[in-house]
């Protein structure tokens, strides 16, 4: 709640002091930030009658000097260039500039230089540089997320960009909360360490004045961890409403795009799933699939009752009542059809991909022991023709993560079977995953089989039986949060940055997962917060993952890693460069060979 309301407050403050008709100009980052927190009708109430993107504005030359422009942009060099062009030829009467993060002095110089007409009335920094999708969950929507898996030698500059973006995003979160945290990071992850240290440098040295807030007795805690410490959670299939929709269909900035899935009426092609605006969704977003079905049926029944009574209009009074209730009725209608469409679609997908069977095995792999049974189950499913390629890949990956060290022969067998069955599978991907996130690389006790206490706990759980086989998995994050609540997060595994220190338990904790969070983890955090233990957890990540996205990141990282090692150099490219040293014959006189030769950066990593 606190993050969403922070973004809303920033926006209200931006707009309230400026009277008259306004234009709001955003860029591709801030559009996401603003869209999840503010609605179009609220903007209209604030007299904002036009919203544009900063890069598309150049197409139209129309001057609208009766409007006042409010720019809300991220302080990137591209945006500064766009702004320069706009200021040199101003279209609007007044310009009020707001940036979502810290501006550099050089950037202010550039803007001041191009403001010949002196149209800029104010220039401020409003730190809403994150997308607050849920009350205790935010994301940064970093485009090249896969960079976190690669060592610095592969692509130094892009990795630096990634780190800068993450550090700026985390800084913005704390500026919005007006706190300065104590920082801890996961020892075994280089990138987590790097991000933690750079954040500390920013908050305590470079901009220490900006972060110098009223100090409370107990500082909040920022914990930076790596996705690869828990690679199991993004690979699993989900059965709670929000997580399931993201896993099977995909949610982006609280919007679900149904266009490619099936035939839907025009107004249902894209729908909004936001717990702020949809009471039914808020109640059901963490419920499992079976319960959702029942609740939706109840909702549909209620709706049918109301429509029946609406059709029974006898007297003028009834008419009057109908017209009174019509807006609510229409809203309810839209809501019901949206949820019914989503659940129908997901049921269809579950049927097609035989997800009940697949997911049962997945959960067994993730939670319970028994290597022999697991091997058999995975082999059977690999042989099953109706299981899709991506599900096969996931099963083998989960098996590999769990039984990496036991019986390597059987593991090899599974790899071979996978390559033979799935045509699109890139060989070596599972091995790459093991290299990234294998048992040697992980800090946390992912499968509960390192610590004696955990083994005992698992056995007890197995004996007791679980209430739902499909939701028995608990992400590693749950254990981490428990340790923090009890004040027992080990210094050895999660050291403090520099000379930070914290006595006792923090009251505010922000956990940032480099590489992305999942909706299963955000559900875990929300349920933990609902227990009111006195500690408030906020979860954030560079993106919000589902299995497709996680696998894509893996593939992308593998491709880049291999390229550095020079293993995937295409042969025809070599031939072209070879042939360009000879003068091209008249038959194939083309400019391409020369063009290729002038692109040397393909060779250089």
């Amino acid at each position: 709640m606190v993050l969403v309301s922070a973004v809303r407050d920033y926006l209200s403050r931006m707009l309230q002091d400026i009277s008259g008709m306004k234009v709001l100009i955003l860029d591709s980052h801030t559009v996401s930030t603003v869209s999840v927190a503010y609605s179009q009708s609220e903007l209209l109430q604030k007299e904002v009658f036009l919203v544009e993107l900063v890069d598309s504005i150049s197409k139209s030359r129309e001057s609208m000097s009766h409007l006042k422009a409010v720019y809300f942009l991220a302080p990137t060099s591209e945006n500064i260039q766009y702004l320069r062009r706009h200021l040199v030829a101003p279209r609007f009467g007044e310009y009020h500039l707001f940036f979502s993060n810290i501006l550099k002095d050089t950037q202010i110089h550039i803007l001041a230089d191009s403001d010949e007409h002196e149209v800029v009335q104010q220039l401020q920094e409003f730190y809403a540089d994150f997308v607050a999708t849920d009350p205790y969950h935010f994301t940064l929507n970093v485009p090249s997320n896969h960079m976190y898996m690669l060592p610095a030698v592969v692509d130094h500059s892009n990795l630096q960009c990634f780190c800068d973006r993450v550090v700026d995003g985390i800084a913005a979160v704390f500026l919005a909360l007006k706190r300065r945290p104590v920082i801890r990071y996961q020892r075994t992850s280089d990138i987590a360490k790097r991000i933690a240290q750079e954040t500390a440098k920013l908050m305590y040295q470079q901009e220490s004045g900006l972060f110098d807030f009223r100090r409370t007795e107990i500082s909040p805690l920022l914990l930076v961890i790596d996705r690869r410490d828990d690679p199991v959670t993004p690979l699993l299939n989900q059965w709670t409403y929000q997580a399931m929709v993201h896993e099977l269909i995909g949610i982006q900035d609280n919007k679900v795009d149904l266009q490619n899935i099936g035939k839907f009426p025009k107004d249902q092609q894209e729908v909004v799933l936001s717990s702020e605006q949809d009471a039914f969704f808020k109640k059901n977003m963490y419920e499992n699939f079976g319960d959702i079905g029942m609740n939706i049926k109840q909702l549909v029944d209620e709706f049918q009752q109301i429509s029946k009574s609406n059709q029974n209009i006898q007297t003028i009074e009834d008419m009057a009542k109908f017209v009174d209730n019509y807006p609510e009725y229409r809203k309810m209608h839209g809501n019901v059809s949206k949820h019914v469409a989503l659940v129908t679609e997901m049921s269809k997908l579950v049927e097609e991909r035989k997800l009940m069977v697949v997911s049962q095995t997945e959960q067994e792999l993730a939670c319970n022991g028994g290597q022999v049974a697991a091997f058999e189950a995975v082999t059977n499913l690999l042989n099953n023709e109706s299981v899709s390629d991506i599900d096969r890949l996931r099963l083998v990956m989960l098996y590999a993560l769990r039984y990496e060290k036991e019986s390597p022969v059987q593991l090899m067998q599974l790899f071979n079977k996978l390559s033979s069955k799935s045509r699109k599978y890139k060989p070596g991907l599972v091995q790459f995953l093991l290299k990234q996130a294998g048992v040697d690389k992980r800090t946390g006790d992912l499968f509960g089989n390192r610590d004696f206490l955990n083994i005992a706990r698992n056995m007890a759980r197995g004996l007791k039986g679980v209430e739902n086989v499909y939701t028995q998995h608990q992400p590693l994050l749950f254990q981490t949060m428990e340790s923090i609540s009890k004040g027992r997060l080990r210094d050895v595994d999660y050291p403090f940055v520099g000379n930070h220190f914290q006595q006792g338990r923090p009251q505010d904790v922000v956990i940032f997962i480099v590489g992305g969070t999942t909706y299963e983890e955000s559900r875990c955090v929300a349920l933990q917060n609902a227990m009111n233990t006195g500690i408030r957890f906020i979860l954030g990540g560079s993106v919000i993952l589902n299995s497709k996205r996680f696998l894509k990141d893996l593939e992308e990282a593998q491709r880049l890693a291999l390229r550095t090692e020079g293993k995937t150099y295409p042969i025809n490219l070599e031939a072209k460069i070879y042939s360009s040293s000879h003068p091209p014959s008249d038959k194939n006189r083309r400019e391409e060979p020369i063009f290729l030769l002038t692109k040397p950066d393909i060779r250089r990593s």
Partner: protein, 342 residues
């Protein structure tokens, strides 16, 4: 919620850089204006916080004979397009309607209080107020329709490639349509809430009025019934003596009944009038609901609207270009001196 104001630093840089730059001529400043009448103002700030939708033409142009240095501060201000006046009118009407609503509430309360008079003036006042408010809402609705009628037709013109006149104004109107429809929506929402308010007030008033009149009638009728039955039980011996008294009593009852009937008649007439206005409002509501955005749906998302605007503008641009191509072709073919498309 932390913020940082960099305006001072910015102004410092700007002033420092201004002194370094060569002074620009006054013609440069007038080149930035778009279509429409233009007013040159020599001032650094146009902020006048009291005006909301006021067209800027009412500001006094302050022209001085300062030196060249001041021309750099000159700003050309275009007049806002004519539809702004319309929307300002609608907003003013809505405001007036709100004031009248407050009066109406007071009148309702007064009429419902038990009073010694027959409350006819109260009824009349209520009627007239309701009528005024409905009229205001109707007028605003008509203006609103005019606003949106102008818009979509130009849009469809661009889309259907009709005339070269549309071409010339087409480029102008694509951009104009968008803020217009947004202004429409906000005013429409205001109107809708106002109408709903009015309807709710009316319905509560109706209910209470009915309660009152039924209550009164119920009591009286009961009394009458009791009275007449007691009459029947009378002794026949005193027929002659009681005759006159009976007659008087009967006459009084009749008069009483007649009055009651008249009151019922009046009340049902009032009800009828109010019901009529309710119907009218229902009609207005239906028309307005088309314009209003549903909360929480995809249409209420900012990014969705940006995409739509972008695609509409793109489409419009493509149509313009197509028309341009075709137009030129026509020119060449007939050798006529057609006006250059924009």
């Amino acid at each position: 919620m932390a913020t940082r104001n960099r305006t001072l630093v910015y102004r410092k840089y700007r002033d420092a850089l201004k002194s370094v730059r060569a002074p620009t001529s006054s013609s440069a400043s007038s080149s930035g204006a778009g279509g429409g009448p233009v007013i040159e103002l020599v001032s650094t700030s146009l902020l006048n916080p009291n005006r909301n939708y006021a067209p800027l033409s009412t500001e006094d142009p302050v022209c001085t004979e300062k030196s060249d240095a001041s021309s750099r501060g000159a700003l050309t201000v275009g007049l806002p397009p004519a539809w702004v006046d319309l929307s300002e009118e609608v907003a003013a009407n809505v405001q007036r309607a709100r004031v009248k609503m407050a009066e109406l509430t007071k009148a309702h309360a007064k009429a419902l209080m038990p009073s010694f008079g027959d409350g006819k003036e109260d009824q009349r006042l209520i009627e007239s107020l309701t009528q005024e408010i409905t009229n205001l809402i109707r007028k605003s609705e008509k203006r609103l329709q005019r606003l949106s009628a102008a818009g979509p037709s130009e849009d469809s013109n661009v889309r259907k490639n009709v005339q070269s006149v549309a071409l010339l104004s087409g480029a102008f109107s694509i951009i104009q349509v968008i803020p217009k429809s947004s202004a429409n929506r906000s005013l429409a929402t205001d109107l809708q809430t106002l109408s709903m308010d009015l309807r709710k007030k009316q319905s509560t008033y109706l209910k209470r009025l009915r309660q009152q009149t039924e209550g009164q009638d119920g009591d009286d009728l009961e009394m009458n019934l009791n009275g007449s039955t007691s009459r029947m039980d009378g002794d026949d011996l005193d027929d002659m003596m009681f005759n006159e008294r009976q007659m008087a009593k009967i006459k009084k009852n009749e008069a009483f009944t007649a009055e009651r009937e008249r009151e019922i008649q009046q009340a049902s007439e009032d009800l009828f009038v109010v019901v009529e206005s309710v119907n009218e409002l229902a009609q207005i509501m239906k028309d307005l609901s088309v314009l209003v955005i549903d909360q929480g749906t995809i249409v209420d998302r900012i990014d969705y609207n940006i995409q739509n605007v972008a695609s509409t503008v793109d489409e419009g641009l493509k149509q313009l270009q197509k028309k341009e191509g075709r137009g030129r072709g026509v020119m060449i073919h007939w050798g006529m001196d057609a006006p250059e498309p924009v």
